[in-house]
Symmetry: C2
Subunit: 193 residues, 2 copies
């Protein structure tokens, strides 16, 4: 039994991201990560199933929160607004994690295996949103289409949030991207006036 | 030099799909496919780089057609309509190939490695559409959002086309799915009247 280490999870994640950036993901071992964090491999495995989970371990909490927000009393009169609002509620999960998110995104973009993993995870979140919409009475194909459109907005907003020099929160970028999508789906105003 | 074989490509693709269905994708070799088609392995490799390309080889023609349709004189006043219309133009590529598409879809759904490949291919098509929209003057984030929304419509429509007992064409299903997405993004009419 190892002693409790304050912030062990955060130290391990930070050490992993440093090493992935310096040496590459494939070239970094769990032993390297534990050493850099000044912890044991055993401690690593109490927090992460493997070195990939440092990057993808947050997905479950994200999915849980979004699905919860679409349950209960959520107003589904305009399903895409409900999905965007549920996704915007995850803003808090990401507060203070912009640097991690930025490093993670660059790493994934440069590694086909991690990219595939990311696409699978995003597809799974999309399916979970669609399933919850159906449970709440939204019919197909609307449920799946809205889930996909909402995730498109989320991905775009996430990329803009990561790069935002003004440090506006993720919820801001989700509402902005949603507005851009709506505009690109409608006849231009000048033609209607 | 082997002699020219009439319909060699179609015979090889049909033999491959039969075997993938009977034995599974992983358990089928190129030698098996060639034998079932009554052709040589060498002939197989004149048409396909590997056994996966039987499933994914059509992607390049699809992308080329969609990107072409978004070029030149395409009306981009409502970018999502332009994307949906370009995607609907691929309807002809799929005419007479519903049985193949259905078998392909079932096979991919049951095989994680093929699913990953499919997601990568769809992401690449989405990126090509966004790039063409940007070239035609559509700004980000609209270009990427519309490409994603258009592909969501395409995937939904494709699934419905494959399963359509009434044999309506893919273009029909794309327009129908587009209508469903629009409805799920707008305030319900009854509240406005």
């Amino acid at each position: 039994m190892s002693r409790w280490k304050p912030n062990a999870r955060e130290r391990l994640a930070a050490a992993a991201m440093e090493l992935y950036g310096e040496r590459g993901f494939d070239e970094t071992s769990v032993a390297d990560i534990a050493e850099r964090a000044g912890l044991t491999e055993r401690t690593f495995f109490r927090y992460f199933a493997d070195k990939r989970e440092v990057l993808f371990g947050g997905g479950a909490a994200l999915e849980k929160l979004v699905v919860e927000r679409l349950g209960g009393n959520a107003d589904l009169a305009v399903p895409l607004d409900a999905v965007a609002s549920a996704l915007a509620s995850t803003s808090l999960l990401f507060e203070g994690r912009r640097a991690f998110a930025k490093a993670r995104q660059a790493l994934i973009a440069g590694h086909p295996g991690l990219q595939e993993r990311e696409l699978i995870k995003l597809a799974s979140l999309t399916a979970a949103i669609a399933a919850q919409l159906r449970r709440r009475g939204v019919k197909e194909p609307a449920a799946s289409l809205v889930a996909e459109a909402g995730m498109a907005v989320f991905k775009m907003a996430f990329g803009r949030w990561v790069a935002d020099a003004k440090h506006r929160d993720l919820a801001h970028h989700i509402q902005a991207s949603l507005g851009h999508l709506r505009a690109a789906m409608s006849a231009p105003r000048r033609r209607m006036g």
